[in-house]
Amino acid sequence: MFEELSQHILDIAMNSLSANATKVQISILESRRHDRLVLRVRDDGCGMDAAMLKRVLANRWSSKSKRRKAIGLGLAFLRQTSEMCDGRFQVRSVPGRGTSVTASMRLSHIDRPPLGDLNATILALCSADKKTDVQLNYRSDGEKFVFDSRDLAKKG
């Protein structure tokens, strides 16, 4: 199990990279007013059809399982965390268009893991694939933060 939500985000976003996404958008909405935390990882990768999506959501299934290398628990972990914290978990996917994973939680829930080291997660994703653009959108009641790895690549 992961101790931080940012570890979940890294794990889910690594799936996006495996799906050959050119863009990974991570949004985090943290609202004290509504006592809600919503995480979303959206990509424009290869997507999944309905049958594959069903298998993916069943525990311990992975596209790599034939090679006996993968665990296949990434989505299951996030689902467990979000449902444990009075939240909802949803995966939407269109073959050829991309996948979107959304997990919500009650912000004040005693079992809700902390967001943790989000910087480390984004750094790791930026190191994963030069071709993939990593975007982060963080929003809370009054604050906003936007990050886009493409902006940095231009400067550098």
């Binding site: 296949g72 910087n119 400067k155 550098g156």
Partner: protein, 123 residues
Amino acid sequence: MNLEQLKQLKEKAQKQISLREGGKKYRVVVGMSTSGVAAGAREVMTTMLDEIEKQSIGSVEVCVTGEIGMVDAEPMVRVEETGGEKTVYGKVNLEGARKIVSQHLQKGKKVQELAVGQTKDKE
């Protein structure tokens, strides 16, 4: 969530993006799979980045991949010498990460006690 912390991200990521350009002597690959992340691979990577910066080692590229294999030996780090050997390190903790930077990347000396395998590049 600390917004101040996030503001440092841009600066750090800028440095990281400049590090991942090719043509370096060493390429460090960290396995960032589900099991890797759970075992602490992300912290191993950030520690190595910090240490590489602190010791100002220029000729290293750090990147991330999915499973390397041998899930029980996570976190795993592979050090690839351009045109040379590839060394796979297993069960790398933060201390081990610093050791790999100061011994292998800085002095070219392998950290034998952490190595789980070595292959010669076929090229």
